[in-house]
Structure formats: structure tokens, C-alpha cells
Amino acid sequence: MRYGLLVEGAPYSSQASHSALRFAAALIAKGHRLESVFFYHDGVYNAARLVAPPQDEPHLYDAWCSLNAEHGTRLQVCIAAALRRGLLDAREADRHGKAGHSVESPFELTGLGQLIDLGRAVDRLVTFAP
């Protein structure tokens, strides 16, 4: 089956990201395909490129990147939710006249329409909330 995940919790603050990553690994191991993870609400904070978690905690950012690298899962971040939380890629930073950026590939800023498309394209969309 084709799956999509909707992640709405900030990393480390809530267990949502941990649960979603665990579920992602399990569904892929069972032979399903994970098309995309869409980050919304505080879930957009998962895309913050500068995270420096303690050594003895899971590195959630790297885990998302691995999911993308190994399985081609897209990491889509709601742009409206991201901008008001300080998450800008180089293009948006430029457009808003800010020096520096806080989001980069493989995370991509996209419109909410991509969440609707995802919901239409996949067989199952599972939400992990804070």
C-alpha cells in the first residue's frame, strides 16, 4: 500500500516524531511504500537544520533525512506554518530580506495543497499529533 504521514508535534517536545519514525520504519519493512511525510503545526520544527541534540538522544533530524535518502520519502513542510515559526529556506529568506536560512534539502517548503494531494494519492494517511 501507499502511505503518507502527517506530523504535527515539535521534535523532543512531544513523542509525535519518534512515533512517526518508528511507524515509518515498520510500514516500509512490511513492504509498503511511504510517499511523503507532511509537517504541519509544530511539526514544522522537525525541519530546523541547526539542531544539536544531546549525544545520548536519537537524532530525529538525521533520521528524517535517512528516510528520504534510503526510501525516497518526500519531506514536505507547510510553508505558511513554517514562515511564522522562523523556518525559511534560502529562497524564502531572500524574499523576506533575511540573511541566512533555517531549512534546506531534503526538507521542502510547500503549500498545504500538497497535503490534500497526498491525502488523495495514498491509501492511508496517518496523523501523529503532539
Partner: protein, 125 residues
């Protein structure tokens, strides 16, 4: 106004949070509006504390926060006309249909599973 079930469609958005206290309500309404703009048939259910999103007389916050009342006015523009609210929750707050700022259909608890079953995708906020 009572709801005539079954109501079916592409997307059911369930709104359960209070206006102003968090961004959940706004983000839920944004998802509904975008889905409608993409041509999906969208139904809203205001459940639990979410019924207060429909209360008349909402205002901006003291710092000028918009809240969500203005966004509700946009629903009609996007052809989202299937609005439902949790009758039991309205009663829990001592409100009546006259206190609501939009025409919406009351549903009793036993009808909520039908609403959910009737939509391909359900998002809760």
C-alpha cells in the same frame, strides 16, 4: 437546523479547539479552505470545545491577534456549506443556535460516526 445524514464527501475536518488559545483552529480551517480550493468536497464538524469557534461576538485579541471568526466568513466563498456542530457540546456551554454566527447543522453524538464513515479522509484539529 438538524443535519440530514448521511453526509458524504472527500474531506471531513473536525475542529475541537477553542479560538485564540492555540493555532489549531486556524490551521484546521486553512486545511479546509485549501482542500475546497483544490476542488474537494469538504465538510466541517465543530466538536467539543470547537463549537465555540461558532460563537457570536468574537473579537481581536489585545495584541491585535485576528482569531478565526473572520476566516469563517470565507467558508461560503470557497463553497464550504456543509457545517455541523456537536449539539451536546453546545449545550455543555449553555449556548443555543441563536448564539452562533453561521448557519450550521446540529448533530447528536450518535451521528458523528456516520459523518466520519462518509468521508474519504478525516483530519482532526
Amino acid at each position: 437546523m438538524r443535519s440530514h445524514l448521511p453526509v458524504t464527501g472527500d474531506l471531513l475536518v473536525i475542529l475541537r479547539q477553542v479560538p485564540h488559545g492555540s493555532s489549531w483552529l486556524r490551521e484546521g480551517l486553512d486545511a479546509a479552505l485549501v482542500a475546497a480550493a483544490f476542488g474537494q468536497s469538504v465538510t466541517l464538524l465543530f466538536q467539543s470545545d470547537g463549537v465555540l469557534a461558532l460563537a457570536r461576538g468574537q473579537q481581536s485579541g489585545p495584541l491585535g491577534q485576528k482569531g478565526t471568526a473572520a476566516t469563517l466568513d470565507m467558508l461560503e466563498m470557497y463553497d464550504i456549506e456543509s457545517l455541523h456542530f456537536d449539539l451536546e457540546a453546545l449545550e455543555r456551554f449553555g449556548l443555543t443556535q441563536q448564539d452562533l454566527l453561521l448557519p450550521a447543522a446540529g448533530v447528536d453524538a450518535s451521528s458523528i460516526p456516520q459523518l466520519i464513515a462518509g468521508h474519504r479522509l478525516v483530519l482532526t484539529f
